[in-house]
Amino acid sequence: MLSRRAFLQSSTLLALAPTVPGFLARTARAAQPQRDGRVLVVIQLDGGNDGINTVVPFADEGYAKYRRALRLPKDRLIKINDRVGLHPAMGVAGKLLEGGQLAIVQGVGYPNPSRSHFRSMAIWHSASTDPEEQNSLGWLGRGLDTTSSKPGETSALFLGSGAVPLAVRGRRAVASAIERDEDFLLAPGADARRVISKEEPADELSAFVRRSMLDAYTTADRLAESAHSGGSSGRNFGSSLGTQLHMIIRLLKSGIGARVFYTLHGGYDTHAGQLPNHARLLTDLSFSLQAFLGELKEASLAERVVVLCFSEFGRRVEENASAGTDHGTAGPVFLAGQAVKAGLVGQPPSLTDLANGDLKMGIDFRRVYATVLEDWLGLSAQQALGATYERLPLF
């Protein structure tokens, strides 16, 4: 009896491609891990994540000096090495690091940092620090423009309400938004498969329409199936980040061809009473990531997906008078997934050698982008970013 993998790898399935529902043909291709099977999931941490209390430079004398109410005790940190440790709420992320599935790029930012949420986020999305160059296109949109996907096929999917983020908007690439899974589910009585002819029509356009319809019904079936699938039904995805990541799994299983999934995790703008809020957010983020990677593995998708987490800026080194922090500059960027080369990249920014009381940038964020574009997605970084940036050892 052929293993499923061997069956999918056999060429006969692909030769049947015109009559086989599209999702099966796609899964066959995915069984041989290939560049265009690779997917990027972006989690945008909205508000400015306090990197100093996320990847804590406990050995730096500046930490004790500038963080008093907000100082996290060294013995509660998830120690990574003798210089930095993770926030106590990120125990699960620590396990991912140990398990070879998490990379942390330290001190990421850009020159002449902006402390405006909108301006800084626009810079991260457009990969351009020139406000006049920030036209309506984003780094992933421009990257996806360089591929020849089927016209109209969604290359990037934004999970959430509201507008598709700038990062995924391209000139040709199509990015769409999905708020609810109802968009992919058949209403009661809507299954009209029986009305489709058994034989393929003679003319090519009609045959295409028929095939596309059969594909669509199959996608809907798979998505409906995964709503009740045994593996994940028992888990409690209390947060909306968890729900969205779970939705991504279901969409991937349904055979959708999008290469980028974009989602937001909000609440990081911790100007006051930072400790409980930040802890809650990092707990949520860590657990959601772990659950997501676990589900990917169960679904045999782990080789195909990498997660990128970033925030529009870090926070000020010195805490403010409200047990919180104000807008800062550089911060850590996380990459998670089986394909990631685990560990720390770059140096923890110094808390004593500052620029106007802020962390100095260590690594330009566009180096992270260039690496993800070229080494993971196989897209032209030069075309996406408009310039060449030295890549990082992330994969």
Binding site: E153, A175, S176, D183, P201, A216, A220
Partner: protein, 466 residues
């Protein structure tokens, strides 16, 4: 002597020669339905019968004159449309603006006009994602409507002064000493010449010519201090060009006529219906007539090519055509279908009016048939007949509709009626059987059966083409 094939027809023969009904291409149900699908959204049974009787010339006259849908147009249509448009503009809810446009398509007298507005909306694809001003988007829509059939230079001039377009193309950032290349590029690549007909220098110089055309207080303003008055060389022509000069240069360039011919073909013809030489011929005609769009539209609609077998049913219906076509053919006028809900369906099917996916507009054609869109079509097909969620006050009285038009109430007659009005064809026995087998055994009564017949037809692959 070898039989002449389509491709072997001598080029000298006018590819746009007028259609004259004959044995091979009779003026029949199929062609009438086809005409309304392409030049409008769909005809009602009464409109089909009227046009069958009146022949192609008169039927096309009516469409061109904006009088094709008369009997169902409310007497206060213009005023109602205006009120809806005004309310939408002030509402901050894009779906309301879409509902306004859907109201125009559904209840207005000029479906061809609305098709042209859709064409221009796609051609000058401007998204409210950036403009963020529904009043401006409506105003732009009315600019398209006002100049839809005009000589193209008029439309282009009006569009380049339109605030929504100016915001979209970053016109305020385009100033002397700091030309915004995006503006010049979109203008040349998308709105006029098309790729390959200009150089990067032309793009920069065009942007320089456009400097000064900007916005002040949400209205168009010519800001002299921002204008670069220096000499520019655009497409080989040297001068101290201003925006109006640039428009003239672009309009006179032969590539623009060709791109417009292509667009009009895209609007009215299906796949593989038009050869390169046909586009050339239409472009030549446009050039001789100052790029008169109305002339080109008329020429295409009256042509043998338009009514040829190869050009019927060879085009994927866009969401707006699919939804509005169904709504009209099913006569959802009284009580009127909820245009807000219809607009939601158009959006769910993947055509987010006022929010084109990017600056290239909607790719269209087969690209409409994504899994998500097809699932939405299947959902629409079952929901539109059922009542409230489909936008109707009560479930569709499909049986009553068939009977009202003199058809019998038995299943075969109902199938035949809806096959004619929705698909423009006489159903074959095999097709009827397939449909009957898909009706299910649990319908309560003949009314329910009739509704299901409609629903199944809307969900068929055949109905996705028009």
């Amino acid at each position: 002597m070898m039989p002449a094939r389509f491709e072997d027809k001598p080029i000298a023969a006018d590819p746009w020669a007028p259609y004259v009904p004959d044995e091979k291409s009779p003026w029949d149900l199929r062609r009438v339905v086809h005409l309304h699908r392409r030049a409008g959204f769909a005809a009602t049974w009464a409109e089909i019968q009227r046009d069958l009787k009146d022949g192609p010339r008169t039927s096309i006259d009516r469409l061109l004159a904006g009088r094709a849908y008369r009997d169902v147009v409310p007497t206060d249509f213009a005023r109602a449309a205006d009120i809806l448009g005004g309310a939408a503009g002030g509402s901050n809810e894009p779906m309301r603006l879409r509902a306004w446009w859907v109201y125009r398509m559904m209840f207005g007298p000029d479906p061809l006009g609305e098709r042209l507005v859709l064409m221009w909306h796609n051609h000058f694809a401007t998204s409210n994602l950036k403009v963020d001003d529904l009043v401006a988007m409506r105003r732009q829509n009315e600019v398209f409507r006002k100049h839809a059939r005009a000589p193209f230079g008029e439309l282009l001039d009006a569009v380049l002064r339109d605030p929504a377009m100016l915001i979209w193309l970053d016109a305020p950032a385009n100033r002397k000493g700091h030309p915004n290349e995006n503006l010049g590029r979109e203008l040349m690549e998308l709105f006029t010449l098309g790729i390959g007909n200009y150089t990067e220098t032309d793009v920069k110089e065009a942007a320089r010519a456009l400097t000064g055309w900007s916005i002040e207080d949400d209205a168009f303003a010519e800001v002299d201090s921002a204008h670069d008055p220096g000499e520019k060389t655009i497409l080989g022509k040297k001068g101290r060009w201003k925006a109006t000069d640039l428009i003239r240069i672009l309009v006179e360039h032969p590539a623009t006529a060709r791109r417009l011919a292509y667009r009009i073909g895209q609007l009215l013809l299906g796949e593989k219906a038009m050869r390169s030489t046909d586009i050339d011929a239409l472009a030549a005609g446009l050039r001789r007539r100052n790029l008169d769009i109305g002339w080109a539209v008329e020429t295409v609609l009256r042509s043998r090519l338009f009514f040829a077998d190869e050009n019927i049913g060879n085009r994927v219906l866009a969401p707006v055509e699919y939804v509005l076509g169904a709504a009209r053919a099913l006569e959802l006028f009284e009580p009127p279908a909820n245009t807000f809900i219809l607009a939601e369906w158009v959006t769910r099917l993947g055509q987010e009016l006022f929010y084109p996916p990017n600056v290239g507009g909607w790719p269209g054609g087969r690209a409409w048939l994504t899994s998500r869109s097809l699932i939405a079509r299947a959902n629409f097909a079952v929901t539109i007949v059922s009542g409230q969620r489909g936008g109707l006050a009560e479930p569709l009285d499909a049986l009553g509709l068939a009977r009202r038009h003199g058809q019998g109430g038995d299943r075969e007659s109902v199938i035949r009626f809806f096959s004619r009005v929705l698909l423009g064809r006489e159903p074959s026995p095999a097709w009827c059987q397939r449909l009957m087998a898909a009706l299910g055994a649990d319908a309560r009564d003949e009314s329910e059966i009739a509704r299901r017949i409609v629903s199944r037809i809307l969900a068929m692959p055949e109905f996705q083409l028009g």
